[in-house]
């Protein structure tokens, strides 16, 4: 919304009007100022909630009568500007004696009473808190104008009906600055003062209230785990290697994140996790990690497996019987989020920022979407649930969707063969990769150098990029040649967890296969060595149509592939930048 220009909002608002159906949701904006531009901006922000909203601007400066005229509306928004409760109050107030001041206050109080009386049965009323910021922000001391403002605000607080929410517009002004919120150009000629930028910020500020009253508020907050609830990757770094401690700079951020999540949980927001990980690893953290604040009892849903996140998130929606549009999903990977949004466009997503210090603030912004009208008894509103059009989004056929998504990524893969310049990274990959690692052989830099020197071994490394960026060198395979280069054994085959799920491993294998074919290899031998972390690759060679040859003590499986019998996977959406020609 904020990134849209005013004319784009006008255009999109007109387009969306043709698409929406269902009961009309009538909104009135009642003001003692000219606020015409808020009409379409507000209308569009509500229509984005799938609510068939129509906004009407009340007649200028007639708040009491207009509140009666619009009392049957679904929503009344009161834009009551203190500066204009009498002509020129902002500068006349200082010249008032106490009597003059009290007369003004009494006049406004009386109008407030009548307005609240008129609007007592309206489903939802939003009234802006009176503010002096636009005229008084330069003053060190409070003045008469401030005092009038404070007193009226206190009065509204005590008199408001249960259906009324007071909107603190000072916060909106603070968020974008006073200078950008107001424009005096048309103030003297036509009593128009707020900018388009202000209206955009304002409608986003009140949007969660409107969503909530219409049963469209966010209800579930689902987190990925690695680099989202804690710093680090549990499957690679282990329980001691991940960080969410308040004693480290990076850990403190994640510590704060968990506290924010828990405070939302306390207010009734459901929490969940959805992570590609080994369930036991995550369970161990949840049960025993001393710095973990979120525990099992805080989690309503837990999806820790290697399935697509869209499948898991759809399952969450079904299990909890809530719409996809009620869910917020937080993940550190642009790739995962891109995929989720493509398949479940109604979900709200949040990406952990690269500048990690920004993360808590971004989560707090999102947390405002969980606004609940009935947070406290006092605020409990007679909620008129909007007729929920049964438009619960069903996930596209998952396979089709994955393919679509991967095609859209512009995946590119670059292969390095026996490249001496990347020895440290290659050694590191063998040492750190636990999950997508067929044999989990650990090698030092010297070992890697020796493989490069040795004529009978070939070491392949893989660099990946897509439209989200470059992932660096994230895959490795070491092949040993035997029997006069007739046979090849895949000593190591591993892919960093940062890039799994894109079928890159198959494109990588295809490349290696073509390379080996080219140098005359006849049979390729593959080995899977079981560890507690690498279950997800137990069927990797089966997928590549290797024949299973031998089971050694249930821990090591030997496979074989006749090179002439292999049909390459030919993953069409992965471009190989230095493809070897056969």
């Amino acid at each position: 919304m904020k990134e849209l220009k005013y004319f784009e909002i006008l255009k999109k608002n007109k387009e969306i009007q043709g698409v929406l159906s269902g009961d009309k949701y009538n909104v009135a904006v009642i003001s003692n100022m000219i606020v015409v531009q808020v009409k379409e901006i507000l209308e569009y922000s509500i229509r984005l909630l799938n609510i068939n909203a129509f906004v009407e601007i009340g007649n200028f400066d007639n708040i009491v009568q207009e509140s009666l005229r619009f009392c049957k509306n679904n929503l009344c928004v009161i834009f009551w500007e203190l500066a204009n409760v009498i002509e020129g109050l902002s500068f006349k107030a200082e010249l008032f004696d106490d009597d003059g001041k009290n007369q003004i206050i009494e006049k406004v109080k009386m109008e407030i009473d009548m307005m609240f009386m008129n609007l007592r049965d309206t489903p939802l009323v939003l009234i802006n808190k009176f503010s002096t910021l636009m005229f008084n922000s330069q003053n060190v001391r409070t003045n008469t104008y401030d005092k009038i403002c404070d007193e009226i605000n206190r009065y509204i607080e005590t008199k408001k009906n249960p259906n009324t929410v007071i909107v603190d517009i000072d916060r909106v002004l603070a968020r974008i600055s006073i200078d950008r919120s107001i424009d005096f150009r048309n103030y003297y000629s036509s009593k128009s003062i707020y900018t388009v930028e202000f209206y955009k910020e304002y409608v986003m500020f009140i949007n969660p209230v409107i969503a909530s009253v219409n049963g469209k508020g966010k209800k579930v907050l689902v987190f990925d785990c690695d680099n989202t609830l804690w710093s680090g990757i549990i499957g690679e770094d282990g329980a001691n290697g991940i960080d969410m401690s308040s004693n480290t700079a990076r850990g403190s951020v994640f510590n704060e994140i968990q506290h924010i999540a828990l405070s939302l949980n306390k207010k009734g927001v459901l929490l969940g996790i959805c992570s590609k990980n080994n369930e036991d690893d995550v369970d161990e953290v949840l049960k025993t990690h001393p710095d973990m604040k979120i525990r099992n009892e805080n989690l309503t849903v837990k999806k820790v497996n290697w399935d697509d996140k869209t499948i898991n998130l759809s399952a969450v929606s079904t299990e909890l019987n809530i719409g996809i549009d009620s869910m917020v999903f937080v993940d550190d990977s642009a790739y995962e989020l891109g995929f989720v949004v493509r398949c479940l466009p109604e979900i709200t997503t949040l990406q952990v920022p690269m500048d990690i210090y920004r993360y808590p603030n971004i989560l707090r912004e999102t947390a405002s979407l969980f606004y609940k009208t009935s947070e406290s008894a006092e605020d409990s509103i007679k909620v008129r649930l909007y007729q929920e059009q049964s438009n619960r989004y069903t996930c596209k056929d998952s396979f089709e969707c994955v393919e679509d998504y991967l095609k859209s990524l512009s995946l590119k893969m670059k292969i390095f063969v026996n490249d001496i310049t990347i020895v440290p990274r290659m050694a590191q990959l063998t040492q750190k990769t636990n999950q997508f690692n067929l044999t989990t052989q650990r090698y030092t830099e010297t070992d890697i150098r020796n493989f490069i020197k040795d004529e009978n071994s070939i070491i392949f490394a893989l660099e990946v990029e897509d439209k989200f960026g470059n992932y660096g060198i994230t895959g490795l395979a070491i092949v040993k040649l035997r029997d006069g280069r007739q046979n090849a054994e895949i000593d190591s085959f591993l892919v960093s967890c940062r890039i799994i799920g894109r079928n890159i491993e198959f494109a990588f294998f295809d490349y290696i296969y073509r390379y080996l074919l080219n140098i005359g290899v006849k049979v390729i031998c593959g080995i899977y060595k079981k560890t507690i972390k690498n279950k997800q690759v137990s069927d990797f060679y089966d997928k590549l149509c290797f024949s299973h040859i031998e089971n050694k003590d249930n821990t090591e499986q030997i496979y074989s592939l006749n090179v002439s019998a292999y049909t390459p996977m030919n993953v069409e959406y992965i471009e190989v930048l230095n493809e070897r020609k056969n």
């Binding site: 004319f7 006008l10 255009k11 015409v36 531009q37 000629s189 036509s190 900018t195 388009v196």
Partner: protein, 77 residues
């Protein structure tokens, strides 16, 4: 530039961009009333990152005038 202006005017007045030409003005576009005029000014200012004076706001009463005024403004900066 001309296309961008047409797009904006079309969105503000809620009409088709093809119905707008150089001579378009409040005389021949029914939807171009004084309130929409102000909305148009705000939309143009936002799009082109410029600001019109009160006098200019009053003068901008045809598509051609708008275009030449914006060109002038952009050249100043």
């Amino acid at each position: 530039m001309k296309e961008r202006i047409k797009q904006i005017l079309a969105s503000v007045f809620g009409i088709d961009p093809s119905d707008i030409n150089d001579d378009s003005s409040p005389e021949n576009i029914e939807e171009w009333d004084s309130l929409k005029h102000m909305n148009m000014i705000l939309a143009l200012e936002e799009e082109f990152q410029i600001r019109f004076t009160n006098e200019e706001v009053i003068e901008l009463i045809s598509c051609a005038l708008i275009e030449s005024m914006i060109k002038e403004k952009l050249a100043e900066t």
